[in-house]
């Protein structure tokens, strides 16, 4: 059993009259237990240089993945251009994925992933400029 933690700090001194300061740490555990998630894809880096909708993470390619558990996905757009973005979705790139949102240069996201059949993580770049996307899956 591994112990993996993810901490978020969301902070602003001026978005409201009072400062915003949200801090939260989760320990990534297998579904319904206190046992730590023990499997990961590791941190992957891929160069995107096309505006073609494609699968970033394919369920079938995550060896040993069990769907509908407590998997987590981390994705970061390592680009620096704040006017270029990656649209992240869930579905199949040959169909019409459900769009989650845009990762602009420097943005990251962390979300739970059921990863049922046909629920790959898709990516669609706004621009063909070569951009490195990092991602990591924690799963059981």
């Amino acid at each position: 059993m591994a112990t993996t933690t993810a901490t978020i700090t969301l902070a602003s001194a001026d978005i409201a009259d009072n400062a915003l300061s949200i801090s939260n740490t989760m320990t990534m555990t297998t579904a319904g237990t206190t046992t730590g998630l023990a499997e990961t894809t590791g941190l992957a880096r891929i160069k995107m240089e096309s505006t073609t909708l494609t699968d970033l993470i394919t369920v079938a390619n995550v060896s040993g993945f069990t769907a509908a558990k407590s998997a987590k996905v981390y994705i970061k757009n390592t680009g620096t251009a704040t006017d270029k973005y990656a649209i992240i979705g869930i579905g199949d790139s040959s169909g019409t994925p459900t769009t989650i949102g845009r990762l602009y240069g420097g943005d990251w996201m962390l979300f739970p992933w059921d990863g049922n059949s046909g629920e790959d993580v898709t990516i669609d770049m706004s621009d063909a400029t070569a951009t490195i996307i990092e991602y990591m899956v924690f799963f059981e």
Binding site: L20, D83, D107, M109
Partner: protein, 138 residues
């Protein structure tokens, strides 16, 4: 213009054969700019079991923007979870103590974020940091 940052730290001493120590910080900007997001909605509520409830509404003013959403399941029983929906798709489970942070495209009015508490009511906290929200006239 506000300055809001979101930092993630991923750590483990034993998931891999070497330490995992990853940290990333983003400044929350309006779409395609370096101007900070300046709208926020921050709530804590108890979600009853038995149905999907929208906690973030996709509105025209926020469509195709750089909105960010934080959701945390504040329940303490590790066997309980909420299903998180974007539009009609159940994207995954947040077990007790879990959190998530995503951008929200909100391209269509149907692209709300919903949650369903499974097997028991659960307390959820969420924050929407946005650059626009269409208000509903009373």
């Amino acid at each position: 213009m506000a300055t809001t940052t979101a930092t993630i730290t991923l750590s483990s001493a034993d998931l891999l054969s070497d330490n995992l120590s990853l940290s990333a910080t983003q400044t929350l900007h309006k779409a395609g700019t370096t101007t900070g997001l300046d709208g926020i909605q921050y709530e804590r509520l108890e979600v009853p079991a038995g149905d999907v409830y929208d906690i973030v509404d996709a509105t025209t003013a926020g469509a195709n923007k750089a909105n960010k959403v934080y959701i945390a399941n504040k329940h303490t029983d590790e066997t309980k979870y909420i299903d998180v929906y974007v539009a009609a798709l159940n994207i995954g489970r947040l077990y007790a103590g879990d959190w998530m942070f995503i951008p929200l495209e909100a391209a269509a009015a149907t692209q709300d974020i919903g949650v369903e508490a499974i097997s028991a009511a659960q307390v959820v906290e969420f924050a929407l940091v946005h650059e626009g929200k269409t208000l509903v006239a009373s």
